[in-house]
Symmetry: C2
Subunit: 331 residues, 2 copies
């Protein structure tokens, strides 16, 4: 692939910084690199391959000559600026929720539904982080035995709420050392020494947006529009890496041994499942890893046939930046 | 009730200390108080109603004249010493797992199955902490609509592993402030900045003992020997208070509004369910509370009919010491 003129919109955020890391690590053919962020961050410099690159504020002509842009600045910025970029001829990989349920916009995890990229119209959507981790594990099980229903409880790191939430956790833990409780600014509740069942806003029906994403995005990516997905999304005092406790109801019997083999071979996954040696996925091991780890695989006690398992993946990496770069590689 | 001669075996542990607090707070008629612990702790003094009480090591004559004893020192101590106490005429409330599945020993949550205490033979068992919290919420739903199956993921505080685990969390968080990872001594993994799907030991089939307790103890307490209970038990960096994400399959339809009313009226529970105001149960609010809080109540997306909810309770309090004192009050 010849070097491309690329841009990152939201470069100074947690995902933007990780994206730069992934681009360098994977040897992505970056030609000209433009970094965009809010006016507040303009003028900052971010390192890439040993050089400092200035961060610019977005403007009407920003996308002239840019072949490919990653949008990692949130839904409002994407809704405003992604159409402008596409109109300028830029192919946009959007990490926000803005276009994920738009039937005209492919929603893709490269290991699962790469064919959905065909016929894109200049804009492709990167799924929600907890959804990416989940569908990587669901897909091989679905292919082998047919998914009927999914119950998932998440243990989500603060990185999912961005770099400022990561700092809020650090500040909260430091305050706890002094016996103080830090009033939250970014997260809805104090996170140090706490867990709470709210990831992003509530909908009128009492579910959160994150729980809805796990339902609707999973249906789209797996092309199972009727799939039942019950999600409870919970924030935990972990800096990066989401974990998920998952139970699936299957159409056809699938032994634990067979499922273990399938998951061990599946792209994007690593099997970490040796309870006797206390080996199972967990955040302190998986931070910074490209793969999603699956373990604690066992027969379901509620669904027959069914399986239960546990997974952990770095939500900044495979949950966001890595998947976004893989999409660009496929495009 | 006239003052009783009582004893606490394991008085210096996290549950033992909380038990003293609950006895004083509830005005339990304590006459003579004997405190027992390991030889290592003998000679320590613990305050109760403004007086310091010396901790003794257990010996053959320890239970002479003791009418009632709480055992909160773990299964090995209970297996060895509870029969000795019963033989000496002491009624034993055992907080360990030693006798919980013994058909001769009542396993009781006072709000749920108090009648099971009838005909006890001097020994009654206090259920596992995460089970007590769960059955308090399951019981009113079962009475109204019939339980078919339960899927539960836990978010368990380190207090469930005792006072030394609580210290290990504090030390781990302090070490993390210095950029260090503390090697675990009590818990199986580092807990600061981490979550891991292991609460107590693994069984040969890949489930943990805690997950098995949630199945077998729930069946016994609810008198539903065929109930399907799928549990994934996870340790989180929280000092006290377990939380649980619960989905239930029901025999008969039960609206969210009706379930909310039932749970609000149920003994031992408090409803904390106003998502629009971001009110839901969480550890930093529930620590030290006698009640178990239930919230995030909604229709299940997987089971029809079915409900999904979230609960938080202080595992040292209702999950252990309070339930044990309530049992003694009933006896």
């Amino acid at each position: 692939m010849s070097p491309r003129s690329v841009a990152i919109v939201g470069a100074t955020g947690a995902v933007g910084r990780d994206l730069l890391h992934v681009l360098a690590a994977r040897g992505f053919p970056v030609g000209r690199l433009r970094l965009f962020a809010s006016v507040r961050s303009a003028g900052e410099r971010l390192p890439f391959r040993g050089e400092a690159h200035a961060v610019e504020a977005l403007g009407p002509g920003s996308f002239r000559g840019v072949e490919l842009a990653w949008f990692v600045a949130g839904a409002a910025v994407s809704r405003e600026w992604a159409p402008i970029a596409v109109a300028a001829g830029t192919v946009v990989v959007d990490n926000s929720s803005a276009f994920r349920l738009d039937p005209e916009v492919p929603l893709v995890v490269p290991e699962v539904n790469p064919a959905a990229l065909r016929g894109h119209r200049g804009l492709v959507a990167n799924p929600n982080c907890s959804t990416i981790l989940l569908v990587l594990a669901l897909w091989p099980l679905h292919v082998a035995a047919g998914l009927r229903a999914v119950v998932v409880s998440t243990y989500q790191a603060v990185s999912g709420a961005g770099g400022r939430a990561m700092q809020e956790l650090r500040d909260g833990l430091a305050a706890a050392q002094r016996g103080e409780v830090l009033a939250p600014q970014v997260l809805p509740q104090p996170i140090a020494g706490n867990v709470f069942p709210q990831v992003f806003d509530f909908q009128p029906d009492g579910t959160t947006r994150e729980e809805d994403k796990l339902l609707h995005e999973t249906r789209r990516i797996l092309d199972l529009p009727e799939l039942r997905v019950e999600a409870t999304c919970v924030r935990v005092p972990v800096e990066r890496c989401h974990s998920e406790a998952v139970t699936v109801s299957l159409e056809r019997a699938l032994s634990v041994a067979a499922a273990r083999e399938l998951l061990a071979r599946a792209p994007g996954l690593t099997l970490c499942d040796d309870p006797a040696r206390q080996h199972y996925p967990m955040p302190i091991v998986m931070a910074g890893c490209d793969l999603v780890a699956v373990g604690r695989l066992r027969e379901s006690r509620v669904f027959a046939p069914g399986l239960t398992f546990w997974l952990t993946g770095d939500q900044l990496r495979k949950g966001a930046s890595l998947n976004a770069v893989q999409l660009a590689e496929l495009l």
